[in-house]
Amino acid sequence: MHSNSHNQSILHQKQQELEFLHHFHGLDFELIDLSVIEQFDWTKLSQDDLGLMNERHKWQHEGSLFALRSDWTNAIVRYRKKYQLNAEKIAYTGPVYTLNTEKHQYGLEIFTDNVDKQAEVLTQMVRFIKQSLSIPLSVAVISHNTLLKNLLSEEELADELTRKFIKERNRDALIAKLGTDHPIVELMAHPAAEQAAYVKEHMPHLKRHIEEMSHWESILIKENVSYVYGDMLALPSQSYYKGISIQLYSEDQVEPIASGGQYSSPSNAFGIGLNV
């Protein structure tokens, strides 16, 4: 009995993966697959590559550095730097490995700076999650990866402790480090739900960023995501994340079920990955 349910679970998982690929192929996405082992040249490692190495399984063989794929977008960004990719929209499925975890990701990427087309990809992913996987989405968090670059100096943004305090919303520690008059300290004095309005009113040079966030929020509200919030304090994990960032949560889950956003490498793109 146990063995049968185990078999059914494996079959269901494989079927779901095929369904994802068929579904998005039917919506004009090109399907791609990449090796789970990535090869690096020691002399050509970027800051982003180096930053991720701490979280990856890696090894050296005959002068080359190898690592297991830990993030699909990162793999696709590097693929695009090396090879021509003619398709505008791609869909993929496959495993990603960090030091302690293995996840299976289903993802979509669109290579265009047309925000309406990018938003359509988000909508298609949300509908797949809700309709095909029957997973209700309870919370969406939208952030803008360039917002903090406007509130912090380059030095502050690079400082490890400052980044930790921002990430943990530790305002007391930021007051001690940056002073009470620092714009980020003033922003954090307001409840999360009121921070967008505060930025709009008191930091007019950032109005455009807030309006972009509101636009993406409205798309998710239209898709009936229960709570949609703007997060003013998101720190980009990789330098190529330059615009909107989105995290989708299902009921009572700590980790986002899907996350993605706008990036630039070398041309503008949008991607979203679903963690199965």
Binding site: F165, E168, R169, R171, P191, A192, D231, Q253, V254
Partner: protein, 203 residues
């Protein structure tokens, strides 16, 4: 309903006193009635009583939306949580303690490995750290280590074991922490609790 993970023991008593000061009597009354229960419920809040070191675990996992624990505990754990606010109790500090002052302390026993390593790195001195789970004073008393790194409140335990404080380091107090997801999903309730618990002189 908001779930708050609390440290059992001395910090719980301090929290109850603080609740009385803030006139949050429905919470303090519920917590005062605890004998061996691990979960206590009031109208809008469920309290979970756990070991201080486990508070960040319950919060990170989302079993609790909020938690209250010492900044020393948070320092040692690299958790994905929001470290929201100082609370005015649980005051003590990190200190190096030894039998006699020395120029350097090459071997140090402690429960706080990360803090100790970071401190000795900051003063550019090599150190061998012996990790212990408790009764740390003994390590210096029997010369297993040159010193201990521990949290000190009154210094009585040190004195009783023939040790004295040599270097006073970072201050410690209670902190309110939140689950990253709940911070957005239950922002109104969390904000209300933050306002209720906020110190009057807070900026």
């Amino acid at each position: 309903m908001i779930t708050i993970a609390l440290s059992k023991g001395r910090q719980l008593k301090d929290f109850i006193n603080y609740l009385d000061e803030k006139k949050l009597t429905s919470w303090s009354t519920a917590l005062k009635s605890v004998s061996r229960e691990l979960v206590v419920e009031t109208e809008n809040v469920r309290f979970m009583l756990v070991k201080g070191e486990d508070v960040p675990v319950y919060v990170e996992e989302g079993v609790a939306d909020l938690g209250i624990t010492g900044s020393d505990v948070l320092f040692e754990q690299d958790r994905q949580i929001n470290n929201l606010m100082d609370l005015p109790f649980g005051y003590c500090h990190f200190a190096i303690a030894a039998k006699e002052p020395q120029d350097t302390y090459p071997v140090v026993a402690t429960k706080y490995v990360q803090f100790t390593q970071q401190y000795f790195d900051s003063i550019m001195q090599p150190v061998k750290i012996i990790q212990l789970k408790g009764s740390v004073e003994l390590a210096a008393t029997i010369n297993m280590a040159d010193a201990i790194m521990d949290i000190v409140q009154t210094g009585t335990t040190l004195r009783e074991n023939g040790l004295s404080e040599q270097v006073q380091l970072d201050e410690i107090n209670a902190r309110l922490i939140s689950n990253k997801h709940a911070y957005f999903a239950k922002n109104d309730e969390i904000q209300t609790i933050m306002n209720q618990l906020r110190m009057n002189d807070h900026v």
